[in-house]
């Protein structure tokens, strides 16, 4: 019974084929799947392929490829056909992988402990001390339960004789288990019947083992364990997987700055205070984890993490320093090590390899160059694998010279002819083609030993005959189906339907970083709005516009300097009046100028991008438009004024979204508080400057005050006459119904600070209360009489008090909710 679909499928003589045997017949465990393919019309297969594509896009499954035009957020590639393995073959393979994980853990324990493997000559010192991946500060640390390796993965290939070989080990933070699960979620829906009929083993139990393993080994001191997933952030190639695993496992996704170490204990900084973290599932490389003891320029790590590890107060999966085992140079030493450490023969062989640091091995490599692949002994060397047979003559001579100069830095591996698996052709209807593949298998530590994921991430080369399989180089992935010996029960960690108990009214635990970025979003949006208004007012009064208007210019400039909207002139510089026009243009569009609108816009953008998942898409569009504005510097006043108008529009839009669009949870309050604090400070400062000016200048500046306080319309509607000091001061400082007035900000701030205290429990900062009381008590009738000069001065003092109180509250909120630190220290000093 030969199927049509196999008629065009070639049989490679010197390779193993997963689908067919040497006679071109489908292997027994594939037969039901091949029958189904035969039966399905080409259109159905095409529709299923589109289904996969759509699912990947809908779920946002991405894989970031470095140095690729599509680059960031490139869609994940999942091939239509699964790789099928049967239970008989899987059982021993899974046991062998579990043994290998156990061995790797034992090696780490030895190399970061007594180092008897080196003392006994079983591992050359160069492969440990000569590696950057050996983390000296981790020497001597014993992790909870003696488990260094919680997550382990190996890349396997099948040799022509049908045996499996390990090509490489992943011991630091193996990626791919999340993608495997995502592949499974999609492919089981693509071929639901085949999936059921072939009795494919589900993956959920493996992830339950991951959860339980971390919970059981974590030092909890009796608490309910809190595990987090530590990511380097959205720029990482596998960021999607981090977010996916975080949701699936129920571990909050955190970045380094979300965590802090106090008293050798790791805490998650949340708006409700510090919460102890018992286990960290990390996807951040060893070197970046602790800037205090590891790479000091790492902004992604947690200062003091190593100390917490040293004190045994936190489980880190995998233990810091575990990247050491990713060197291919160790492979050749493993059989002897397995005998020594486990007293067992190594069940899963590695591809034959020769570490060139040994004299006889180097000689062998030079003699058999055509049959070997040359690789760096240390992953930190970032060198591509070199196929010996592709280098002849001069190029080979140079290569060998390079190896001889530093032999311990190179390892040679046998050139394995990878086995092939079928993929669906894109060009021909309903035709399957053979492709080389590599399969990544996963194991996780449990109290009962290592548990192996019944499945894996199979990656196929993009072109026929290609020997290098890498997602970074355009490879495709496949779901890996392990057929169970008996029927399987349906099982998943995802609930099929939510019940009332699952309903969530607000995020339970909001990280401090989210609150902090919302707070700064609030402050920067208000600051951008204010500086756009001020700059517009200054520009309108610059140049040839008559005496009266230009008379107030010095006062406006003074306000802008005080607020940092324009850089204050250097008092040391010669008296030459600096050219105002370029300074103003730079203050609009040069982000390098401190306090410039462009600089504040980009800070606003940064803060917003840190809380991206909380913003609606409309909100994002407003932000994107703001950023686009940054990219076209203004050439003259006309363009600059246009930019300022646009910036104000977008700032309004942002404020609108904040009020109408966002869920009013604990984080939202900080956005509002940030806006109010900033507006309070700006308004107080502007009023102060005018109140301190002489009476002549003061009168002329009232127009401008109303303009920058966006209160012209209200003033005209109320008084129908030219601005006078008393009504202007009332409207901008005392009128609590005017959303631009000082009193309005004070009242609102007080309300939201109360709300914070009620929701989050920290004491309310009181700095503004006294100032608010003083403002309340101020007698406005003093502006009517002779006393008005003194009244102006006093009010200015009061506003100065309010302004600095606003900044103090900002600092206090930082300490209470974001950095979780204490107030100022008193210095002693010595002689």
């Amino acid at each position: 019974m030969s199927q049509e679909i196999l008629a065009t499928y070639p049989n490679a003589p010197n390779r193993f084929d997963e689908l067919i045997d040497a006679n071109g017949e489908p292997r027994q465990h594939w037969a039901p799947f091949v029958d189904r393919l035969e039966f399905l019309p080409a259109e159905t297969l095409e529709r299923r392929r589109r289904f996969i594509q759509d699912s990947i896009e809908a779920d946002g499954v991405t894989y970031n490829v470095y140095q690729d035009p599509a680059g960031q957020r490139r869609h994940w590639q999942l091939e239509l056909l699964p790789l099928v393995l049967d239970a008989e073959e899987w059982q021993p393979l899974s046991e062998a992988l579990s043994q290998r994980a156990r061995l790797m853990n034992a090696i780490l324990a030895d190399l970061y402990g007594p180092q008897s493997l080196i003392a006994e000559g079983l591992i050359p010192p160069a492969l440990v001390f000569g590696q950057h991946a050996y983390r000296w500060p981790c020497q001597g640390i014993v992790p909870p339960g003696g488990i260094f390796l919680h997550h382990y993965a190996a890349d396997l290939a099948r040799a022509p004789d049908g045996g499996w070989w390990v090509l490489g080990d992943r011991s630091q933070g193996p990626s791919g288990s999340g993608y495997s699960l995502q592949n499974r979620l999609i492919l089981s829906r693509t071929f639901p019947d085949a999936f059921r009929d072939l009795q494919v083993t589900p993956l959920a139990d493996y992830f339950r083992s991951v959860q339980e393993g971390l919970a059981r080994f974590a030092p909890t001191d009796g608490d309910a364990p809190l595990a987090v997933l530590l990511t380097p952030g959205p720029y990482n190639e596998t960021y999607f997987e981090h977010t996916f695993l975080s949701r699936y496992l129920g571990f909050p996704l955190v970045e380094g700055q979300d965590l802090t170490v106090r008293d050798e204990t790791v805490y998650l900084k949340t708006l409700r205070g510090l919460r102890r973290v018992h286990a960290i599932y990390r996807r951040l490389d060893d070197d970046f984890c602790d800037p205090l003891e590891l790479r000091s320029d790492s902004a992604l790590g947690i200062p003091g993490l190593l100390r917490a590890a040293r004190a045994g107060r936190v489980l880190i999966a995998n233990a810091l320093g575990s990247g050491l085992l990713e060197t291919g140079a160790l492979l050749g030493f493993l059989p002897a090590i397995a005998q020594r450490l486990l007293g067992e023969p190594l069940k899963l062989p590695s591809v034959a390899s020769w570490w060139c640091g040994e004299e006889p091995a180097l000689e062998y490599v030079i003699r058999h160059f055509d049959e070997l692949v040359i690789k760096p002994a240390f992953p930190s060397m970032r060198m591509e694998a070199i196929f010996g047979h592709q280098h002849k003559g001069e190029s080979r001579r140079k290569l060998i010279e390079r190896i001889e100069a530093q032999p311990h830095a190179y390892v040679a591996q046998e050139w394995v002819r990878l086995s092939q698996a079928p993929v669906m052709s894109h060009r021909h209807k309903k035709r399957i083609l053979p492709r080389s593949f590599v399969m990544r298998l996963f194991a996780t530590a449990t109290p009962d030993g290592y548990s192996v994921m019944p499945g894996g991430l199979t990656r196929v080369s993009p072109r026929e005959g290609d020997e290098v399989v890498s997602m970074q180089r355009g490879g495709l992935s496949k779901d890996t189906w392990i057929r169970a010996a008996a029927p399987v029960a349906k099982n998943t960690l995802l609930k099929s339907r939510l019940g009332v108990i699952d309903l969530i009214c607000s995020g339970t635990e909001i990280p401090s970083r989210v609150g902090e970025n919302l707070f700064w979003m609030g402050r920067y949006s208000a600051r951008c709005e204010a500086s756009a208004r001020m700059l517009r007012a200054v520009m309108a009064r610059t140049g040839d516009i008559g005496d009266e208007a230009s008379e107030v210019l010095p006062l406006l400039l003074q306000t802008c300097w005080n607020l940092g909207i324009l850089p204050a002139p250097d008092p040391e510089a010669d008296n030459q009046e600096p050219d105002l026009e370029p300074a103003l243009l730079a203050a609009v569009s040069d982000p390098a100028i401190p306090g410039s609108l462009a600089g504040n816009l980009s800070r606003l953008f940064f803060a917003a991008s840190q809380v991206r998942e909380r913003l609606s898409s409309d909100n994002w569009h407003a932000l994107n438009r703001l950023q686009a504005m940054l990219n076209k510097p203004s050439e003259d006043f006309e363009e600059a004024l246009e930019t300022l108008d646009e910036a104000m529009q977008e700032a309004f839009a942002l404020a609108g979204f904040a009020m109408d669009d966002m869920t009013r949870d604990e984080g939202w309050g900080f956005l509002v508080i940030g806006r109010r604090i900033e507006r309070l400070a700006v308004q107080s400062q502007a009023l102060q400057t005018v109140l301190r000016a002489d009476s002549h200048q003061r009168e002329r500046a009232l127009d401008w005050l109303l303009e920058t306080g966006n209160s012209i319309v209200t003033y005209r509607a109320r008084y129908r006459r030219a601005p006078e000091i008393l009504p202007v001061v009332h409207l901008l400082a005392f009128d609590a119904t005017n959303p631009h007035a000082v009193a309005f900000q004070l009242e609102n701030l007080r309300r939201y600070l109360f709300r914070n205290t009620r929701m989050l429990g920290q004491p309310r900062p009181l700095q503004l209360d006294i100032a608010a009381d003083h403002l309340h008590a101020f007698d406005l009738t003093r502006f009517e009489g002779r006393d008005h000069e003194a009244a102006s001065r006093e009010l200015a003092e009061l506003l100065a008090e309010i302004e600095s109180a606003a900044y103090e509250v900002s600092d206090e909120l930082h300490r209470q909710y974001f950095s979780h630190t204490a107030q100022a220290a008193r210095m002693g000093g010595w002689q």
Binding site: G140, R307, T821, A822
Partner: protein, 319 residues
């Protein structure tokens, strides 16, 4: 009993920040090591403002590390380390006159080779590290000093002499992050650069060598009194001499340390034994102001006046 001398050591570090720092964590390697030729009679550490917490540990190279944590706003940080140390002259190991190749041979890996503890320890100082490179050009430079019949002592002494002759001491030429390859090109630098270059040469020809961090007694100009803060931290190297000894060399001064070098600690290079290393939240970092004062016991009162800080009774350190 060999000749010995007592020193008072003071190492002050002062940081000033533009903006208040809310959180700061500092690792201090400021406690001199207790060694066969170096007794630490007392030591103490003062930190202002008072740290939120402090504790310590012994690092992978056996150096004592103190940790201080500040979790409160501060715009200045003062750290003062003081110690009394008694130094006696080291003895040259008898094996130093054996051919230098024997040292290299003792460490070369062959399958199944056993490494005794001292040898295993030496292996840690045989390879590249952050500031030390193993390169053919360094091997060639060192090779000219190590003739085939030379002893370890004479080869290393010749290498030290060559570096001393060919390099110019120049604090302006380099920074802490100048790579050793550039130091080699310029042939200029400070004691740290001299040490990193000599280490690169030694390791490039297969000799284990470690970076020594410490202090050096300086001599005030003729007729001038010894001044507080006139000294600096110093760096030199020590080379492994099988079966288990190390011999020190100071390439900046072309001499073998005897009674005037005080050891703080050692590592593969500066990065392992930096006296201060820290992380700040906020602030804006500046280079600290550092003052080191090394005073022989006989001159203590002349320098510090009549303060009651004599070597005995022992001062309690902060532990």
């Amino acid at each position: 009993m060999s000749e010995s001398i007592r020193y008072h050591l003071r190492h002050d570090t002062r940081y000033e920040y533009d903006q208040p720092v809310a959180e700061s964590h500092q690792l201090l390697r400021l406690v001199p090591r207790e060694l066969p030729g170096q007794r630490i009679l007392s030591h103490r550490l003062d930190v202002q403002p008072a740290p939120t917490r402090q504790n310590g540990f012994v690092d992978s190279f056996g150096n004592e590390v103190r940790i201080i944590d500040l979790e409160l706003d501060h715009s200045e940080l003062l750290i003062r380390a003081e110690a009394w140390a008694e130094i006696s002259a080291p003895e040259q190991p008898a094996e130093a006159i054996l051919p230098w190749q024997q040292t290299r041979q003792a460490l070369t890996y062959v399958a199944g080779k056993r490494y005794e503890p001292a040898l295993l320890d030496a292996c840690r100082f045989l390879f590249e590290s952050k500031h030390v490179r193993v390169k053919r050009e360094f091997a060639a430079y060192a090779g000219e000093c190590f003739g085939s019949g030379d002893s370890l002592l004479s080869g290393t002494t010749r290498l030290m002499g060559r570096i001393f002759e060919e390099f110019t001491f120049d604090p302006e030429a380099t920074t802490v992050s100048t790579p050793v390859t550039e130091v080699f090109e310029k042939k200029r630098g400070v004691c740290q650069d001299y040490a990193h270059f000599m280490l690169s040469c030694l390791r490039s020809i297969g000799l284990p060598a470690r970076y020594m961090s410490g202090y050096l007694l300086t001599r005030p100009p003729a007729g001038k009194p010894r001044l507080i803060g006139a000294d600096a931290t110093h760096a030199w190297v020590s080379v492994f001499c099988p079966p288990g000894r190390w011999i020190e060399f100071d390439p900046t001064n072309n001499l073998q340390p005897a009674l005037e070098h005080i050891v703080l600690g050692w590592g593969r290079d500066f990065a392992d034994v930096s006296p201060l290393r820290g992380v700040l939240m906020g602030g804006g970092s500046h280079d600290p102001e550092i003052q080191v004062t090394v005073v022989p016991e006989a001159e203590f009162h002349a320098v510090y006046g009549d303060v009651e800080d004599a070597p005995t009774p022992l001062l309690p350190g902060i532990d």
